[in-house]
Every structure is written in C-alpha cells, then in structure tokens.
Amino acid sequence: MPIKIILHKDRCNGHARCVRKAPDVYRLDERGFIGSAPETVPAELEDQAIAGAGACPEEAIEIVQS
C-alpha cells in the first residue's frame, strides 16, 4: 500500500534530522525549516521517508497509508 506524507510545519523547529535520514525525500527551506516533501512516495523511497519521519523529534512529519 503506498504511503502519503503530511507535514505539520508549525511544529518544525529546524533540527534537520529528517533530511539527515532521508535526503532524497525531505527538503529544507532557505531558513532551515522543513520545506517540502513529495505527497506520494515512490516505493523505493518509502523506507527512507518513514525513517526520516521517525527521526523528527518534534513529530512534524506524519506518514499515513493512502
């Protein structure tokens, strides 16, 4: 089942853990906060996406089954 990423930008404090774990999925904006992520994730990047979400200490990244 494919997954979907929901960003809660208000919770992001710019720790950059998500891009560390999942450089191919998450992008920071020019200020260093979570900027973007693809809405639907290609199968080969699913593991990365989940690891990146799990690494975010602020729980700013939510993964749902779509």
Binding site: N13, A16, V19, R31, G32, G54, A55, P57, E59
Partner: protein, 418 residues
Amino acid sequence: MEQKNPGAVSSPACPFSAETQEKILHHFDHHSSLYRDHSAEALKLLRDQAPVAKTDAHGGFYVLTRYQDVLEAARDDERFCSFWGITIPTNKAPWDRAQTIPIDLDPPYNELFRDMMLPLFTPKAIDAYGVFLRQTATKLVDAFIEKGEADLARDFGSPLTALFTMELAGIDHAQADFYASTIQYGIAHPGDPDALARMAEARGRVSREVAAQKDNPRSGGLIDYLFKARVGGRPLMDWEIEAIVWLVLLGGVDSTQATISNMAVHLSDHPELKQRLIEHPDSWDDAVEEYLRLVTPQQGLSRTVTRETSLGGVELQRGDRVLMSWQAANLDESVFPNPNEIVLDRKNKRHLAFGIGKHRCMGSNIGRLEVLIALEQLLTRIPDFKVKAGEAELSADIGTVKAYKKVPITFTPGKRSA
C-alpha cells in the same frame, strides 16, 4: 549488568534504606553525592512514587521524572519560561539581562536569534566540520597510540571537542585548553567561589575576544558571522554577541566530551557490546543515539511557572520552579523498555538528551558527529582499550553535566597514522 564504576547506570532495584528514600522523595538534590553515585536508582524511585515531587533543596522546586511531564513542560514556553534562569540554583534575577542567548530568552525573542543562527548548523555546514573533526581526532590518537596508555578524558574527548569549539567560534586554538578546563571545572563545582571566579575570568576573556575581533575578525568563525548578522532588522549589540559565544563555548566544551567519556567507560565494562560494534560499523549511529539516551550528558534544566497550572496531576503556582530531568525521561521504562540497556535496534529514538521544543539543542547534529568520530577512532585504532580498574573518576557534581574527569585506559600499542 554489574556496576564497576560509581555512577555508571545499572539496573536499579531500589537499593535505598527507608531514611535514604525519604531524603530522595522530599529533599531531592541533583547536586548531592547521593545523586552522583545513584542517579538512575534515585530517579526511578521518584518516577515510581512521586513523579512530580516537591523538594526543599535550593529554596524549593519540583522534579519531573516522567517522560510525558518533561515533554509537556519543555514544549510549553508560555506556562514554563526560561527567563528566570535555566539551572537550579539560579544566579539570574529577572532584571538581569540574558547571560546566554538564545537559551535564557523566551519566545518570540529566542526565535529571532535562533533563526539567525540556524544557517551555521545546516547538514551541509556540518559535513564541512566533519573534515576538521576527523583530522583532529586522528592527530590526538596519534599522540598516544604508541604508548599503550592514555587518559581518554584529558588526551582525547576534551581536546577534540574544545579544539572544534574554538574552530566553530573563530577563536585561536591555543585557547582551547583554558576554556575547556575552566568551564568543565565551573560546571562541576557550582556555587564554589573559586569556580565562580574562574568562570568570570573566562567570560571576561570572551568580551575581550569580541572586542579584539571587531577590528580584526577571524573570517569564517561564529564571531565574524555575528558581526554581520541582523536580528529584528538591526545588527547585534556587543553584549548579545558575547552571550551567544559564551553559550556556544558552554555547550561545546562540556556536554559532548561528557558523552564521549561515558561511552568509553560503558564500552570498557561491556566487552561483548564493544565486540559487536567493532564487527558492525553500520550500527555506530544507533550506538551514539543510545549512549545519548542512557547517560544523558546534560542531565536536566529548569523552567519557571508563569501562572497557576497543573502538571501530572500536581497543582503549580506562579513562580514555582521545575527541574525537567532529561535523564529521568530517557530512562522511563514506559517509553523505553529495558531502559538501562544499550539496545542498538531500539525503534524509539525520541530521547530528550538534547531537550525538546523551541530550545532544543542547536548543536545536536554537531554533537552527534563528534561522538561518532570519537567512537570510530576508539573502535578502529585502539579496539582492545580497557579502563584501568577503579580509576575512572566521575566529576565532583553531575547535577548539570554528567562527565568523567579522568578515564585512564590501557590498550595494545598501535601505529601512528602518518
């Protein structure tokens, strides 16, 4: 798990007499020798019996020992503010200006400074620091690898993190030892007049450093960056620059070397774990994360209650002070099963060693990288290192930062890298 070094975390089955239990439950003092020698057990007793405990030590405060309560307080700057000082006891009055920025400020002011500083801590910036760190770590090990013995605190963890902090701040490397030894002593002897005098001297040196660099900046360093930066549309004042540099020195030269020394002592006491790590470099990142959780170098910080509220079922009044024990939160077994073990494949990595929320450590990814590079050097270059029996010496006071003052080791001599 056997306990070989005082203060090493081991399985806490309540070892206290009724009298000692009473002392912990009603007179808890994180600066006491009781805490230094039995921190994990004392925090467990509190969490099990009085998770928001009132103590009369240091003028009175509440100790938070459950993960959920620590999280709730740290995330709510409106109810739990930083401006009255973030240590217990505090030497900051509300009318004093911030001594360290952004940590002493509350939103939105801390956020203005934090936003301005974030570019220094991007993954790209940190990768560049990795080059300096690896070279420095390699040279430090070169200096003792032929001897077969060393003090990992004095010869490795402390100079590695101090030299790097100088590099980051843009201060002459020759100052590394002065700042590291002074700050480590100051944090391990809170309230001691001699320690306060030495800290004041170091703080004075920061003012002179900033003044000197005004005419002659060291390009690429933090100080130079701060000269050019703006907050709220204006340049920074000199005292603000000094307060930021002072915080980076405090954060840079103590907590990270503390993590390295704690990790080394634990690895020496757990040869099977060490062997497993030697064979599996792909689990070093997980090991660093677990060591941060298990020993939580910065043990806990405080906040001041801004209005009547309740936390964990306890009523709090305006002006009450709370100690958020990151260490206790990180050993909360309802969140981290087998809390006293290093579990490399632990799924939950949301430990609170770097705090959480708007003040969460800005140096967290740098700190991690420093500890990882230290682990890499230990496991690849002196893999059979062993702490000399009974000779690892914990700091006099671990209430703020849990560190070993001395970690004397022996190992099979090896070759210098070049």
